[in-house]
């Protein structure tokens, strides 16, 4: 839906890094390099980014029931 504010496992704040990650991977940089440089060391935090799909743009078109 929307990137979690913190890593669900270790609690590190990660949402502020998502914009950078998205922009840089779209430009063709590898996810590994970007995450290393953003300081996402543990695999729990890396999993949050790798498994995330921004669905809020789609969902926002529909009314909340």
């Amino acid at each position: 839906m929307i990137i979690p504010i913190r890593c669900a496992s270790c609690g590190k704040p990660i949402a502020q890094l998502w914009g950078d990650y998205q922009r840089r991977t779209a430009q063709g940089e590898s996810a590994k390099t970007v995450m290393d440089e953003l300081g996402l060391v543990r695999y729990c935090c890396r999993a949050q980014f790798m498994g995330h799909v921004d669905l809020i743009d789609e969902i926002a078109k529909f009314k909340k029931g």
Binding site: M1, I2, I3, P4, I5, R6, C10, G11, K12, P13, A15, Q16, W18, G19, G39, I56, D57, I59, A60, K61, F62, K64
Partner: protein, 260 residues
């Protein structure tokens, strides 16, 4: 106990602690996690929310936002003069009023106290389409990780100090290549330990060398890592941890005295 600073940067501080026990290290870890006060948003009143996120979801996201904490001018609600009713010494009001389209960032929260603001301003809270609107009043309080993990100021964790024995290794270059933290240096004949303190005890070298390299973590010496989320500095975390422990030990000895 002997303490040596290993490294220090924006995100973490690493220290070598020698001559102690796992029990003592674990006490520090748990104290930092549960008893240090930090600020976080605790209640949210919604005036309007036509975003895609339900009120509860947005309130939850707001709660997890890291706020710069001023432990000097705020008190925990239970210890405050107002006895938990809520006043300026224990509760801080933040407001948010935004209209779409666009991403709403944590920096758009208007705090009544300029000293207590989101640490990471670029934290996306919600994304709004045209005509969508969010208006809310949030209340931040000072509390501890015991009540909710969002009040925890960071992590303190430890590992046994790496003890690495290199025997007669057949494929030194392959093993040096395999180590994820580049602990070894190798030529075609010899494997040497270059950066012992980087070892995370993953045992990849032990498996690859079929036991020719031996790795273990010490039970008396440790590498301690302090990783603050941003509410407090690493120094404040250690000071607070020691104070909280002293308080607990004093309380315990008082109780024991009463038994006699």
């Amino acid at each position: 106990m002997e303490i040596k600073l290993l490294s220090q940067d924006k995100t973490q501080v690493r220290v070598v602690v020698k001559g102690t026990t796992p029990a003592e290290m674990n006490t520090y870890r748990r104290t930092v996690l549960t008893t240090l006060p930090a600020m976080a948003i605790d209640t949210v009143e919604f005036v309007e929310n036509s975003s895609a996120l339900y009120d509860e979801m947005l309130a939850h996201r707001l709660g997890l936002v890291v706020l710069k904490t001023d432990t000097e001018s705020y008190f925990e609600k239970a210890k405050c003069k107002c006895k938990g009713a809520g006043c300026a010494r224990c509760t801080l009001e933040l407001t948010l009023e935004v209209e779409g389209p666009g991403i709403v960032y944590a920096e758009q929260l208007k705090s009544k106290d300029p000293a207590v603001i989101p640490v990471h301003g670029k934290t996306p809270l919600v994304k709004l389409l045209d005509n969508q609107k969010v208006k809310l009043i949030a209340h931040a309080i000072l509390s501890t990780g015991q009540e909710h993990i969002k009040f925890s100021p960071g992590l303190l964790y430890y590992q046994g100090y790496p003890q690495i024995k290199v025997g007669a290794v057949k494929n030194p270059e392959a093993i040096a290549e395999m180590c994820p933290t580049n602990v070894f240096e190798a030529d075609s004949k010899k494997l040497t330990v270059k950066n012992k303190e980087a070892c995370i005890l993953c045992m990849a070298c032990v498996d690859a060398s079929k036991g020719d390299v031996e790795v273990s973590g010490s039970a008396t010496d440790f590498i301690l890592t302090i990783e603050p989320w941003g509410q407090l500095t690493p120094g404040q975390m250690v000071d607070g941890c020691v104070d909280a422990l002293h308080e607990q030990i004093d309380a315990l000895s008082e109780e024991i005295k009463k038994l006699k």
